[in-house]
């Protein structure tokens, strides 16, 4: 089988979905989470982090292109595969899922769709059309008060609830996605008592909770 044919086979498509998902997880989600944690250390550190990130614009743009490519492959392949899967399933009337089929696995299309909507909203909120931002001075440079912008956004409880809802979707998606990617790459993930499944679940819970820190802490704890 030629390599391009192999990539478009059912296993090849799964490999593309798993690889693009892992690229987003490792190169975007983890560093983004690390940056978000700095919000807890106050405006000086968070704004300094934001300024330094903007000073590395070529790297940021490179990552943005990579993310765009990954998300395009991830979604295009998933939609293609899901349509084929619905056709392959046929009409089912009395059939019931077993107890072993996890909620996260069943909700993958929903959580994935929610994450896409969230990315669009998140980019609109803070990147494409951010609210007017104050300029402040950091180490002799004029920089945006990103801390203030984020803080102001999350003074609205409705926004906080929307973000938390999306974080639940991220948690659900990751808990199935990580273990599924491992199995797709050919490492055995057992049905029961699987450490990989357990790690996958706790990484998902940990990441979703950490991402939830900014909106919740901005709303209830920190006073700007």
């Amino acid at each position: 089988m030629k390599k391009n044919c192999a990539l478009l086979s059912s296993i090849g498509q799964k490999l593309l979905i798993a690889t693009s998902g892992l690229v987003m997880f490792i190169l975007f989600l983890i560093p983004h989470m690390g940056g978000n944690i700095l919000f807890l250390f106050g405006p000086d550190i968070f704004n300094s982090y934001a300024m330094h990130l903007h000073q590395m614009m070529p790297v940021v743009i490179g990552l943005r292109v990579l993310m765009l490519a990954s998300i395009t492959i991830h979604m295009a392949m998933t939609i293609k595969m899901s349509i084929s899967n619905v056709q392959a399933r046929g009409t089912r009337l009395s059939q019931k899922p077993s107890k072993e089929r996890s909620l996260a696995a069943r909700l993958m299309p929903l959580s994935g769709g929610m994450i896409f909507l969230f990315i669009v909203k998140h980019l609109l909120d803070f990147t494409i059309s951010p609210p007017a931002v104050q300029m402040i001075e950091i180490d002799g440079y004029m920089a945006k008060d990103v801390y203030g912008m984020v803080y102001t956004q999350f003074q609205d409880p409705v926004q906080v609830i929307i973000y938390l809802l999306f974080m639940v979707a991220v948690g659900f998606h990751l808990s199935h996605a990580l273990q599924s990617a491992v199995q797709t790459f050919g490492w055995y993930v057992p049905r029961k008592h699987s450490k990989i499944k357990l790690i996958s679940m706790w990484v998902a819970i940990g990441m979703a909770s950490t991402f939830a820190i900014i909106p919740v802490s901005a709303l209830i704890y920190f006073h700007y």
Binding site: S10, N85, A88, S94, R191
Partner: protein, 249 residues
């Protein structure tokens, strides 16, 4: 001493190319030690006596080793999730006056031939693409000439337990034949006799699986839960490895 029960059967009736529908039949005084297929035999006898067409279903060995039988009973393949084929399911598992819903295995490549009989020839077509080892004919070679580790031999035997009933396809939310194909690829990939053709085998079998319209694996493991022979998803991981090695390395 066995008891008898009365049950109500809601059975899928369909002729090839026509729309199907459920029909309800009453089965009285069914011996609880009868197998599910024997119960259907009793119902069919009654239907025939009443001048009605008997319910079509597939069966052969009735010992749980041939893979011919298999329908959805109350929404689950083979009516059980405990490594049991339909022929080995007994009526003692059901309650008196219970309604049992019986449907054929559902998947796009499994078209209904009649009632509960579906066309599973797609699985055979996958086998023809590499589910064998090409050997020169003649006397069987001396068994000890090819030493094989016990663990490998056991894993290959476990994979070879697959009877090709199609429950994995019917249970999979995507109508995927990955567990079946994985078992067939694994039983040869694990043994030295299968190695010369391993690349063509995995590419051919996966290619045929896709061509016939079986779905993709989303690692939800419904196939392994449904498998009456306990084929494990370890075989799917192995199939993925075999495919990656054959196609990209």
């Amino acid at each position: 001493m066995s008891d008898t029960i009365n049950i109500s059967l809601k059975v899928w009736r369909q002729n090839q190319g026509e729309e199907g529908h459920f029909e309800v039949y009453q089965a009285k005084d069914i011996d609880t030690s009868a197998s599910f297929l024997e119960m259907l035999d009793v119902v069919n006898e009654q239907l025939t006596l009443n001048g009605k067409e008997p319910i079509a279903f597939e069966d052969d060995c009735r010992e749980g080793i041939c893979g011919a039988c298999g329908v959805l009973v109350n929404g689950t393949t083979h009516g059980s999730h405990e490594k049991t084929t339909l022929c080995q399911l007994h009526m003692r598992k059901f309650k008196n006056n219970e309604q049992i819903v019986i449907e054929p295995f559902r998947a796009h490549p499994f078209t209904v031939i009649k009632d509960l009989v579906v066309d599973r020839s797609g699985l055979d077509a996958i086998i023809t693409e590499g589910g064998y080892v090409s050997v020169k004919t003649g006397n069987a070679p001396e068994a000890s000439t090819t030493p094989i580790k016990k663990e490998l031999a056991e894993a290959a035997m476990d994979a070879a337990e697959c009877i090709g009933c199609g429950a994995c396809v019917a249970a999979c939310p995507n109508g995927s034949a990955m567990l079946f194909t994985a078992a067939k690829v694994s039983q040869y990939a694990l043994l030295p006799q299968g190695h010369p053709e391993r690349k063509q085998r995995v590419e051919g079998m996966v290619g045929k699986m896709d061509e016939l319209g079986f779905g993709s694996c989303s690692n939800e493991y419904e196939c392994a839960v449904a498998c009456p022979k306990g084929i494990d998803v370890q075989n799917i991981a192995r199939l993925n490895r075999e495919f990656i090695k054959a196609s990209f390395m």
